[in-house]
């Protein structure tokens, strides 16, 4: 294989766990351990010499490309900016608020079957849900609805762009109440 180094590099780039020489040999269907080791050494040297943003590390009995420690600060900054993911419970709550608004917390909890106060607070903090007002019931419970940010978040022009259950059925979603 005349481009062994480049192939190796593509493997090292695409792997998550360190690659052992044995693993590499089996992927490349070669018996030439020496060639693989030489190529690895040559890559490591190249990264060093060219002062690349990453280096080839020998870890846990295998090889792995890692970012150069000098740049850890920036990589960390990037990782920290990594957005959070909404939990399943948050998605459920959000779905109920979206489809049933204006909705009371008790309605949400009735549908979900569990206390949803904490999740509602998170959604409020995230700006996806807001308090629309208070209902004239004992305790003056708050009524919730979705925000503009909710629309942006789901790339909706308007709330009326939400598909209806009927429409979902039409595009083939199976609903528990029909059949089975």
């Amino acid at each position: 294989m005349d481009n062994l180094k480049a192939v190796l590099e593509s493997l090292l780039f695409a792997t998550e766990a360190p690659l052992t020489v044995d693993k590499i040999k089996s992927i490349l269907e070669t018996e030439d351990r020496k060639a693989v080791q030489d190529a690895l050494a040559s890559l490591a040297e190249e990264y060093e010499f060219q002062k690349r943003g990453f280096l080839l590390s020998e870890v846990a009995g295998g090889y792995q490309i890692r970012t150069r420690p000098e740049y850890a600060h920036w990589v960390r900054r990037m990782r920290e900016a990594k957005p959070a993911r909404l939990s399943q419970a948050a998605m459920e709550t959000l779905a109920i608020v979206a489809y049933k608004q204006p909705v009371l917390r008790t309605d949400i909890e009735h549908l979900r079957g569990v206390d949803s106060g904490g999740i509602l607070r998170t959604l409020l903090e995230r700006g996806l849900v807001r308090v629309l007002g208070r209902k004239d019931l004992p305790g003056r419970p708050m009524v919730y609805g979705t925000t503009k940010r909710f629309l942006e978040f789901f790339d909706l022009k308007a709330l009326s762009d939400l598909p209806t259950l009927k429409e979902l059925q039409d595009i083939g979603k199976e609903w528990p109440n029909d059949s089975t």
Binding site: K82, L111, K135, P163, L168
Partner: protein
């Protein structure tokens, strides 16, 4: 398939794969006969098309309704081709085949496009990136520190709930009710900004009757939920809507 026969087994080897739809079959026939799509020998193509359908039926393959619609279109065009042009007509009559040529040409274009797409370097097959174990997750992000999720995930979440509760009160969600909810949200936006708005203002910019009704229903619903208060000035008789 050039000739008819009762003996289907003879065709077993020749039975082409199942076609995705009538257009697909039509493309196949036009291509097989190497004819110009703008000058289709309609009698020949119609004949072969019908033979194919017959064959499908003979093999107990479900022939979808769309195939039959196309069959009748072809037969109709064929019959029109046989008629002499109406002498009384002043204008030149359009070639009856255009009815099928136009969609066929468009379909062909899109087949080219599909092929072009299929030839691109596909993620997780031709090219790979780091950290996508199965390529299922692309972290689209937005300002505000949240991963953007697809609408479908929201809907899936809703579906999960419906599985658990009686669906009765959830099934009345229609385009109209969602429109009302949307308007509620808009009205809440305005009230948040301005505190109070006159009743008339809400209807001034409405374009259609449907919009007016939706706005009215939204105000009613908001009043019912006590999100807003509706007051009328004693003298001016102006109705104002306040944040609740």
């Amino acid at each position: 398939m050039e000739e008819q026969t009762q003996d289907n087994t003879a065709y077993l080897v020749h039975l082409p794969e199942l076609f995705d739809g009538p257009m697909d079959l039509l493309v196949h026939l036009v291509k097989k006969n190497e004819v110009d799509i703008y000058d289709i020998p309609i009698a020949l193509i119609a004949k072969q098309y019908l033979e194919y359908i017959k064959l499908m039926k003979a093999f107990d393959i479900d022939v979808a309704g769309e195939f039959l619609v196309m069959a009748s279109t072809l037969t109709y065009i064929k019959s029109r081709m046989l008629l002499p042009p109406e002498p009384s007509e002043e204008e030149e009559e359009e070639d009856p085949r255009m009815e099928i040529v136009r969609p066929l040409a468009e379909y062909l274009q899109l087949k080219h496009a599909a092929e072009d797409l299929a030839n691109k370097d596909r993620l997780d097959w031709d090219v790979f990136v780091r950290g996508y174990p199965d390529g299922a997750e692309s972290s689209d992000e937005q300002a505000g520190g949240l991963v953007q999720v697809g609408l479908f995930e929201l809907i899936d979440a809703f579906q999960e709930i419906i599985k658990r509760v009686s669906p009765q009160d959830l099934l009345n969600i229609t385009v109209d009710t969602i429109s009302v909810k949307g308007r509620i949200s808009e009205i809440a936006d305005i009230l948040e900004r301005r505190g109070s708005v006159t009743f008339e203002e809400f209807f001034e910019k409405q374009a259609t009757k449907a919009d007016i009704i939706v706005t009215f229903l939204a105000i009613l619903e908001m009043a019912k939920s006590q999100i807003i208060r509706i007051m009328q000035h004693v003298e001016s008789r102006i109705i104002r809507i306040f944040n609740g």
